[in-house]
Symmetry: C2
């Protein structure tokens, strides 16, 4: 027997995607995307949802580039902070002590300490109600050596 919960934005599991971008002055910023996920295999693409009021929204529209950095469990506090504060008023990297690192393939910073990084160029943006979905072509996936197994493949348990 099922119970109805009405119209809700509910699905699981929820990943933590920290979106890295530069503003027009080159200041690095990072925020937690409300939602995101892979949306095509060819070209490999990821979709992230961001409200137009967010600082990152303007950065992505200008630079058409972003990174996704995925934290390990020990950085959950810092990831939370990226989700709460706005880069408009705060240098989130200075406060958290984390290191913005310029991506190799796109004009955006990733978070050096996080074990998984995707480098993406924006190929599309789609307005969906309160959020705009940015589609990013994934130009590179980087994974920390510590998350690889003895054969050099990503170890899902460690991730």
């Amino acid at each position: 027997m099922k119970r109805s919960f009405g119209a809700r934005a509910a699905a699981y599991p929820l990943p933590v995607f920290v979106v890295g971008s530069y503003d027009h002055k080159g200041k690095p910023n990072a925020m937690v995307a409300a939602w995101g996920g892979i949306c095509s295999s060819d070209p490999p693409s990821i979709a992230i949802s961001i409200r137009p009021s967010r600082y990152t929204y303007r950065n992505l529209m200008e630079k058409m580039a972003f990174t996704i950095s995925i934290p390990s469990a020990k950085y959950m506090t810092e990831a939370d902070f990226f989700g709460i504060e706005s880069g408009e008023n705060t240098d989130k990297f200075a406060v958290t002590g984390l290191t913005p690192l310029r991506a190799d393939h796109v004009d955006a910073p990733c978070i050096a300490e996080f074990p998984v990084v995707l480098e993406c160029r924006v190929t599309k943006h789609v307005k969906i109600g309160a959020h705009t979905q940015f589609i990013g072509e994934i130009l590179d996936v980087k994974i920390d050596e510590s998350m690889l197994d003895s054969e050099g493949k990503p170890d899902l348990a460690r991730l």
Copy 2:
């Protein structure tokens, strides 16, 4: 130290979203979406990626409606089958013994035995490389009583 894995459609965790739809004759079908996830809160919306060659693609374009049924662990074998076979040649419900149940709010079937169901109407479709992303407004979320805690809230551990 990070290792580069190049351009890949890689992110985690991956949910199992079984997409239910009717064809033009009213025959129910279900498939596993390659990828999907919530993409806006207002209206609550979910995005799923489907290749144009899939039977479900035609159903969604015609009916502009679908459900997402999320299996519990004991139905993983059936969910796998939904992902492998095509509804063009197979009655997947007959083979798996699962029950298609007409949704309350949209012209699409859900899977009665699966504990979580979202009922969605298509509000947008966006071509992204090899896949088309269907955006569905979530009109209802239904959760089996067995997945609720003593206060009637979804129990994430059971889900």
